[in-house]
Amino acid sequence: MSSPSAVRELTIAQAVYEGFAEELRRDERVFVIGEDVAEAGTPFKVLSGLVEEFGPQRIVDSPISEAGIAGLGVGAAMTGLRPVVDIMFGDFLTLVMDQLANQAAKSHYMSGGKLTVPLVLRTTLGATRRSAAQHSQSLQAWVAHVPGLKVVLPSTPYDAKGLLKSAIRDDNPVVFIEDKMDWRVTGPVPEGEYTVPLGVADVKRIGEDVTLVGTSSMVRVCLEAAELLAADGISAEVVDPRTLAPLDEDTLVRSAEKTGRAIVVDEGHRSYGVTAELASVIAERAFYHLDAPVRRLGALDVPVPFSPPLEDQTVPTAERVAEAARELCRRS
């Protein structure tokens, strides 16, 4: 038996797999449904092995019917099960928005609290995979805009496992979004049982001069930027909200008040995206502490191009974040 404190290095993919396996063992109401989730373990192989342990009744291969499986998930969740609906690419959220926004998110409220929808909709985000415009989007801003949905964006193996377990145990619909590019990223994960609560941001690096708020894939970009900045003698604090809804505004604002400067980085398109909300929360609440305007870096406002030299320009990089930070620190 392993002591709860024993820690291993796992990839995000392994951590996610453990989170699923533990919750499937813990609660027989939990099941997974999606395209090629069983034998194939999804095209990304992250779930490979689950069907062997839990069988095809609980790891269910579905037709290519995103709207249908989302709707089926809502009905199953209302009637005593805890479905995890797997939507391969975040780009296919386009097909489930009705079941997600008009049904899952609103049923509890519309029924005056009678119906509950403990559903997890698992999907992905991220570009630079050379997958072009319909397989590279980061659409978290859409779902974060819908009252009644919780939105989770893990950035480390530890958070991925702990947040997934909380999402599955939550009595509300939760959209859980993994970065397609970072499943191989490794990090420490304790042996024992733990969860990470939804709605609590995490300071990934402590600093004094500028706050870098990053989500999902952009947390790593911010940490790399912090390294570059350190070389220039600029001390950057990196804050990961971890969940967009509920949003831990206080931790973001406190950090910005401390440093007086903030940059917000998200891989979704910049306009009307997640960075707009985070930046305006900071700009409004930390107004009297800011030495410079809050800067936003998001994906370029263009469909994601296939051609590598074009695609590489669409996503924020550590160098661009660092440059923006240097610029801010020169100001005021």
């Binding site: 037709p63 009637t79 005593g80 009252p147």
Partner: protein
């Protein structure tokens, strides 16, 4: 556990006859309820609009009387009939339609979103076709949990235009789920005749997915009930999904505000369905012919229903609105 019809028959002690009388009472209750809703609208006493079920009572009552209390239904924007037939209380329904705290959804849902979880009603739905996935998921859940519950999905002819219906019928068929898709073909999608927007033969659609499909006269509650009993039993014993096409008609407008209808349907058509094809008159006539009931019995049932409804309406009108602060409650469980 017994079905509503069995239970009622037993209670009324009159066996089958009692069940038919009970359906007469249930249909009459829906009819009167909707007439009062129409009056509330015309008297500007009800916020918003409502889609009346008048003329279609035999479908909800025929189907729901074949269900157990723990069976599920999903409903539509035209959902009052389904809700009442599945066992909802008149007073709390009126309260919901008036946006009152005592309503089934504390006034937050209103006419198009009444849910009555205790009686297995997973909610009316204002998205055409929006509940087809929910009903299919409830059936998936019943099967997964090893119960013998059945889910009934009510939807109109207009929902035949929504792709999700075909996505979920495919899964229901593949996995042999205990769901009955009940299509209420009342001839119109809002203001457009269904033949103008529906290609092919309706029954061929479920059949294309390997789903057993049956058509009945939706004005004949006995025919609807018989078909429903068979399809529900089929689902309950694990023989999978089915599709019940009920040909019916809404006697009023698409919603309470739709009063000038000449541009999309004829008075003659309306009169035929309001007269010779009225489901309550049809059942009443049959009950009298069969000697099951005489005019007084039926009148007495109607009076009883009317009393229930007037008491319920009085309660609802007097009931308080929710506290303003409740607006932010119930967003999350």
């Amino acid at each position: 556990m017994s079905t509503a019809a069995e239970r009622r028959a037993a209670e009324s002690g009159a066996g089958e006859a009692g069940a038919w009388l009970d359906m007469y009472r249930a249909m009459t209750t829906i009819r009167l309820f909707e007439e009062h809703v129409n009056d509330l609208y015309r008297g500007a006493k009800m916020p918003g609009l409502a889609h009346l079920y008048i003329g279609e009572e035999a479908v909800a009552v025929g189907v729901c009387s074949a269900l157990r209390r723990d069976d599920y239904i999903t409903s539509t924007h035209r959902g009052h009939g389904h809700c009442l037939a599945k066992g909802a209380d008149v007073a709390r329904m009126f309260a919901e339609l008036l946006g009152k705290e005592a309503g089934y959804c504390k006034g937050k849902g209103g006419s198009m979103h009444i849910a009555d979880h205790a009686n297995g009603n997973l909610g009316a739905n204002a998205i055409v076709g929006g509940s087809t996935g929910i009903a299919t998921g409830a059936a998936f859940s019943a099967k997964q949990r090893g119960t013998d519950q059945v889910a009934v999905c009510f939807f109109g002819d207009g929902a035949l235009g929504q792709g999700i219906l075909y996505e979920v019928m495919n899964m229901a068929s593949l996995w042999s789920l205990p769901v009955v898709y009940v299509c209420e073909n009342n001839l119109y999608n809002e203001y457009t005749h269904y033949l103008e927007v529906t290609a092919g033969a309706i029954l061929d659609r479920p059949r294309a997915f390997g789903i057993h499909a049956v058509e009945v006269d939706g004005q004949d509650v006995r025919a609807v009930h018989a078909a429903a009993e068979e399809l529900v039993a089929r689902a309950r014993r694990g023989d999978g999904p089915s599709f019940l096409l009920c040909n019916t008609y809404r006697q009023h407008g698409h919603h309470v505000g739709d009063v000038d209808r000449a541009y999309y349907r004829s008075k003659a058509e309306e009169q035929e369905w309001q007269g010779a094809r009225d489901p309550i008159a049809l059942l009443g006539g049959w009950l009298v012919d069969q000697g099951v009931a005489d005019a007084e019995t039926l009148a007495a049932l109607e009076t009883a229903a009317r009393d229930e409804i007037e008491r319920g309406l009085e309660f609802a009108l007097a009931a308080p609105f929710p506290e303003p602060g409740e607006v932010t409650d119930d967003v999350f469980a």
